[in-house]
Amino acid sequence: MRARSERGLALLSFALALVALVPILGLAVDSAMLYVTKERLNSAVQLSLRSAQRSPEPAEAVNRYFSANFPEGFLGVTKRTIQYTPGKLHASVEAPTYFMRIIRVNVVKVEASATLPAEVATAAE
């Protein structure tokens, strides 16, 4: 009976397609979250460095401004580190993943750097 053998074929095909679709969608979701984290980190690094150059104690100010622009726990990130050298700021965080855990990638390190233009950095020193 041909009709009986074809019964459930659409459901089976869809279930098989889901096995491929869900990881693809998951990867897209994780990538989007990481992209948002990267963008905010870039912005925070740039603004903190710029703000710090106006302060008499830039090394301390950079921490305060960085925290204001990239709050602790933003999007669930952990291990925030900031490295400041006059005219330069580098920050890194560990961003959690939601779907990439399936392939045992629990966190992804996101980094951003900013450098002041030479003339601004000299003026600030």
Partner: protein, 156 residues
């Protein structure tokens, strides 16, 4: 049409009815998340750009300043009520934080500024001043489980 054909057709329609909600859910959910992340990035970028604009000395209260803000916020639909920008200049005085001036643009009826506790906005040292820019915008999501608003804040 024979009864066997009719049964087969009915079974296909039934299977399609099972598959469709899941497929549509995945598609709409994926699209909504995509749109939301793009708008989140746009909001963050707008907040950064407006802080830099304010810090560069442009008077945001003038027609020229407002026009520049409007142009930068076009991507988020600032002119059509889909977003709002609140710009506040904070000054740290011995008595505490003081609001020096504020500007706003967009749909102020829908979103209110979140600066109701100034101390939470920025940790400033005596004599320091900073521009705090808040951006609220529609997330563009049609899925009820996802947030309806995206927001960004920058301090410079």
């Amino acid at each position: 049409m024979s009864s066997r054909d009719r049964r087969r057709r009915g079974s296909t329609i039934l299977e399609f009815a099972f598959v469709l909600p899941v497929a549509v859910g995945l598609l709409v959910g994926g699209l909504s998340l995509g749109v939301m992340s793009v708008r989140t990035v746009l909001a963050g970028d707008l907040a950064r750009q407006i802080s830099l604009l304010a810090d560069s000395g442009v008077d945001l209260g003038t027609a020229g300043g407002q026009q520049q803000m409007l142009e930068k916020g076009r991507g988020l639909g600032l002119e059509s009520g889909k977003a709002v920008i609140y710009i506040t200049k904070l000054v740290r005085e011995p008595a505490g934080l003081r609001v020096d001036r504020t500007y706003q643009m967009g749909n102020t009826q829908r979103w209110r500024s979140g600066l109701w506790r100034l101390e939470d906005a920025a940790d400033l040292e005596p004599g320091e001043q900073a521009w705090v820019v808040e951006v609220f915008a529609e997330s563009g999501s049609v899925v009820s489980m996802l947030p309806k608003t995206v927001k960004a804040k920058s301090v410079l």
